[in-house]
Symmetry: C3
Subunit: 187 residues, 3 copies
Amino acid sequence: MEKMKSRITLSLFLVFLSMSSVHPMKPKKQYKPCKHLVLYFHDIIYNGKNAANATSAIVGAPEGANATILAGQFHFGNVVVFDDPITLDNNLHSAPIGRAQGLYIYDTKNTYTSWLGFAFLLNTTDYQGTIIFNGADPIMVKTRDIAVVGGTGDFFMHRGVATIMTDAFEGEVYFRLHVDIKFYECW
Amino acid sequence: MEKMKSRITLSLFLVFLSMSSVHPMKPKKQYKPCKHLVLYFHDIIYNGKNAANATSAIVGAPEGANATILAGQFHFGNVVVFDDPITLDNNLHSAPIGRAQGLYIYDTKNTYTSWLGFAFLLNTTDYQGTIIFNGADPIMVKTRDIAVVGGTGDFFMHRGVATIMTDAFEGEVYFRLHVDIKFYECW
Amino acid sequence: MEKMKSRITLSLFLVFLSMSSVHPMKPKKQYKPCKHLVLYFHDIIYNGKNAANATSAIVGAPEGANATILAGQFHFGNVVVFDDPITLDNNLHSAPIGRAQGLYIYDTKNTYTSWLGFAFLLNTTDYQGTIIFNGADPIMVKTRDIAVVGGTGDFFMHRGVATIMTDAFEGEVYFRLHVDIKFYECW
């Protein structure tokens, strides 16, 4: 009986310790991912001259804009479809391990932000399947979190959070995103 | 021992009571949200004349229509990008607590319905993070449920259902939605 | 005792058999759906001449293309909004039990693939509610898995995987999809 009591005391103490280790004003739970992937993807925006190697295309635009050049006002209203290579490192010319496919829309008039709806289609010996992403991307912020809302194949029923970071941005034509995918529900 | 027995009996009785309170033909489980938010967001549709204060823009249209005026046939085929202020009450001029960003598409020819893909970006002392929404919106129905498919920050890994209600609709230019967000998976 | 032993041996043998039926290098867990639906939906693509009975419309297109005819290069960049009837069998003229509404975008230059964002709105005596889909659709592959990321009504908080199969494809105007929806999280 005494033993049990002391065990309970110890447990409560450990609970207290783990809670006190987070921010005192707004305690947050810390979860450990059940699966973790770090990948890059590369977007070459069509600009009217690079049809051969562009990986994305403007397909929607607000009044007065067109599908050749991104619109003014922080591209507000542009809808872009993409099919971007995914690589393990930050080199555009590394062998792609899959494709990032979907769309982004620029959705603010006074800064660069976008809404993202896309999938990773992975096809390697390690991973076969798709990862489905959805979320808001305030592009000018250093790291942005979006939701991983589902998956198939090796990512069957998975959910999680992906942290996106702009790893390079060159001349409004090429950008590279560093994506840190943390799954918290793995099945 | 007797006490425990009677407790079990009472518990079973309460379970029975709570089950009998739902529809007899099609019993549905009643879940209690683990988090609950009621918010408003305000959309000012661009109509060719209100560029300065419009919060949304037509960016896709079917053949014969354009990005200035919503298409005929219940706007079927119009794609609209928006960046709308979110407020705690129904006043457009209240201090926004965040932005609703994403797109809606009108997707029926014989009534007003839309498909929604958007995020709430909240930035207050109470809530910091994003809530990701996805779903079908049969606009003419009084209350419509859409899915909350994920979240980040204070809404990390959250899921739930949001009930949307059109709170105002003025002259095909302004509409206000009342959004009752019930999270059932909170982490 | 001997009997039990042999039963255990048999059970282990059956487990071994069932595991050996999957890829030997990468054993996969097998889950049983908690709900299962098999449905068809029917898409009649607008082609400039069939306005009366088309169920979808091109609403976004890359530079040089338009909203009347699907673009070249495997329709890369086309955004299509649809409102398709859902039926229980493969007959377009069967009584619809609901509508499939949302959008698909063609997102590859060298084959047919699309990103899908849509909802099923079901309204029958058996099922009332919406099912929300999101995912990548490599159209030329026989069966493709997409994610079921949420639901409302009878599909409240559901998640799962839907296997899509092109059941018919006629003259770039009509296609029919066979959708096998397996829910693994039912509430």
